[in-house]
């Protein structure tokens, strides 16, 4: 073992030394192309539309903060953040709550038709929200829910159930049956077991599905676009798109707005990077 490792490290060291410049060049190029548009938006937000028209690709001279302060002091921006937050939280709570209850029953109960029911839920992975959007709109209109957070959150939660159940069920299956037996002997009810043991034991998977649901909701555009027409109900993505079409004459202001609307998603990403990458690649890697 030690010998192979030794051979390998020497080989790797030589390999590193030989190829480094080229690899780093590729890495810098790819990273640069990826990050440049984002940096451009953030930095150009400090210029005026006049500066931008004179030369779109220059550094701010002088740096102006009016664009950013105008967005940050506008009540619309904060309203949209709040709306997005409310919708994302409702979506996440509903999908994780309902999904974990169902996944628990589907993983630990024995009953006829269990696998059929599981398939019934997993089929939803193949149903794109676009297909159901017209009837959904009519349904929510009839329920008088249009222009409310529920109109967006509930369908999102419903369409998020399949992936939530698919991720949670195998996880809950791995919890040893002995724990459940012991809890039952101690007089713990089915729900008590679910609440006091199953949820804490499934925490990693619960965090993964929560992040998937939250980020999906936070970034969503199609449902808010069609179900929210009242500007006071706009979510951040919807508001960003509308802002872009309304202020098309004031490029600098759009840049600042776009830069600021990047902040929450990027902040969440930096805070939970490992979870997000682990969750996303884990959920597809197998």
């Amino acid at each position: 073992m030690t010998t192979t490792e030794g051979v390998q490290t020497t080989a790797r060291r030589r390999w590193l030394r030989l190829t480094n410049p080229f690899i780093y060049l590729v890495a810098i190029f790819v990273g640069g192309v990826t990050i440049l548009p984002i940096v451009y938006v953030v930095v150009s937000g400090f210029r005026t539309t006049g500066q931008l028209a004179a030369d779109p690709n220059a550094l701010p001279d002088p740096w102006v903060t009016e664009n950013y302060s105008a967005v940050l002091t506008s009540p619309e921006f904060w309203q949209q953040i709040q709306n997005s937050l409310v919708i994302a939280v409702i979506t996440t709570l509903v999908v994780v709550g309902f999904g974990s209850l169902a996944a628990y029953a589907l993983s630990r109960f024995v009953f006829r038709g269990r696998e059929a029911l599981y398939t019934f839920f997993t089929l939803g992975l193949l149903f794109p929200v676009g297909v159901a959007i017209l009837p959904l709109y009519l349904l929510l209109r009839n329920l008088d829910l249009l222009d409310t957070a529920w109109a967006v959150a509930l369908p999102q939660a419903a369409f998020g159930l399949p992936v939530t159940i698919v991720i949670l069920r195998p996880f809950m299956r791995q919890v040893p049956a002995e724990i459940e037996d012991a809890a039952a002997i101690d007089g713990c009810s089915r729900f008590g077991f679910f609440w006091r043991f199953m949820l804490p034991l499934s925490k990693p998977a619960l965090i993964t599905v929560s992040i998937l649901a939250f980020v999906g909701s936070w970034n969503a555009y199609l449902l808010p676009l069609l179900l929210l027409s009242d500007p006071t109900q706009y979510t951040l993505p919807l508001g960003t798109a509308v802002f872009q079409s309304q202020y098309s004459f004031d490029t600098a202001r759009i840049l600042a707005f776009t830069a600021l609307s990047m902040v929450p998603a990027l902040a969440l990403f930096v805070l939970a990077e490992r979870r997000i990458i682990g969750g996303l690649s884990g959920s597809v890697k197998g």
């Binding site: 690709n57 297909v131 009837p135 960003t240």
Partner: protein
């Protein structure tokens, strides 16, 4: 693994405590309803019922208001298949799928293979590559609209680099716009592919590569015959997600071009929204939705059947362990 659920049946769960059969069965039924009911109701009401309604509305000529009484049979479907804009939309979706497989996949694979080694700044690079994936499609679209506007940042940069004669009307030229979209899609999603493949590469045991090297395999031979085949499952899942995503393409296009100019960047979903909502053709839009659904469903099933079959248990079921 023994099925743990077997132990969860009542009799073995409470040894030595005789329980009458009927109350226990009733209790189990109540428990099942409480656990499964909420998800079942929500999923049925907001996913399955609307899908069924779309299938039904598709046979009517209807504006979404007033009585649903103008039954037209398969006319809506006939109309969709004979509309050149809709056929163009299907074709555009297909082109995006094809370009993803032919360009994005090899590019992401090559970059993942190149970057799969210990190097300075690897964590930073991973964060950078993943950043566009985390941003919403709306932010991506607005950003690129600004970058690509005529004599905007991109055009200007190209002129500075002496590439001025390649400048196009990126979003306004019908012959160019779809490829522009593909570049933007690639910018947003290639990091996801690279990270996925890197995760797959890390899982390949070094011993295999060493063994091949000891047997005299060149680095390319090791990659071709050991690494790539072992990466197969990851690649197949990536391709599946990419195909399904490309068939649902909407946000980016809607914000950047609304499917224009003259339908040149239209996709099935932008066509659906354009007719269903903007023109209030709920019946016709529903028929289009059913075509979209059938197409995605068939593609997904065929893919599961013929491509993912090899990867035991398939797509998402093995996760979270």
């Amino acid at each position: 693994m023994p099925a743990p659920a077997d132990l969860a049946t009542g009799r073995r769960r409470r040894p030595g405590r005789p329980v009458a059969n009927r109350p226990r069965r009733l209790r189990k039924r109540v428990e099942l309803t409480l656990f499964l009911g909420p998800a079942f109701v929500l999923y049925s009401a907001l996913v399955l019922v609307p899908m069924g309604m779309a299938a039904y509305y598709g046979f009517f000529n209807w504006t979404g208001l007033g009585p649903l009484d103008d039954f037209v049979g398969f006319d809506n479907y006939r109309r969709a298949f004979s509309d050149p804009v809709f056929r163009g939309s299907v074709q555009n979706n297909a082109i995006i799928v094809a370009l993803s497989m032919l360009i994005q996949l090899p590019l992401a694979l090559a970059l993942a293979l190149l970057l799969n080694r210990r190097m300075r700044g690897r964590t930073l690079l991973r964060t950078v590559l993943f950043a566009p994936y985390v941003l919403s499609e709306v932010i991506t679209a607005v950003t690129w609209v600004l970058l690509l506007q005529p004599s905007g940042p991109v055009d200007h940069a190209m002129e500075t680099l002496g590439l001025g004669r390649f400048v196009q009307l990126w979003l306004a030229d019908p012959d160019v716009v779809l490829y522009t979209m593909f570049v933007v899609i690639t910018w947003k999603y290639i990091g996801f592919g690279i990270i996925l493949f890197l995760a797959g590469l890390v899982a390949i045991p070094d011993e295999l590569k060493e063994a091949a090297a000891i047997d005299g395999a060149s680095s390319w031979q090791t990659t071709r015959h050991i690494v790539l085949p072992l990466l197969g499952p990851t690649v197949r899942i990536w391709a599946f997600l990419s195909i399904i995503g490309a068939l649902q393409l909407f946000d980016l296009i809607w914000i950047m071009t609304l499917g224009g100019p003259a339908g040149a960047s239209s996709t099935m979903v932008t066509y659906l929204i354009d007719h269903g909502f903007k023109r209030n053709e709920f019946g016709y839009g529903s028929a289009v939705a059913m075509i979209l659904f059938t197409l995605s469903f068939v593609v997904a099933l065929l893919y599961q059947r013929f491509v993912l079959r090899r990867d035991t248990e398939g797509a998402l079921t093995r996760m979270a362990g």
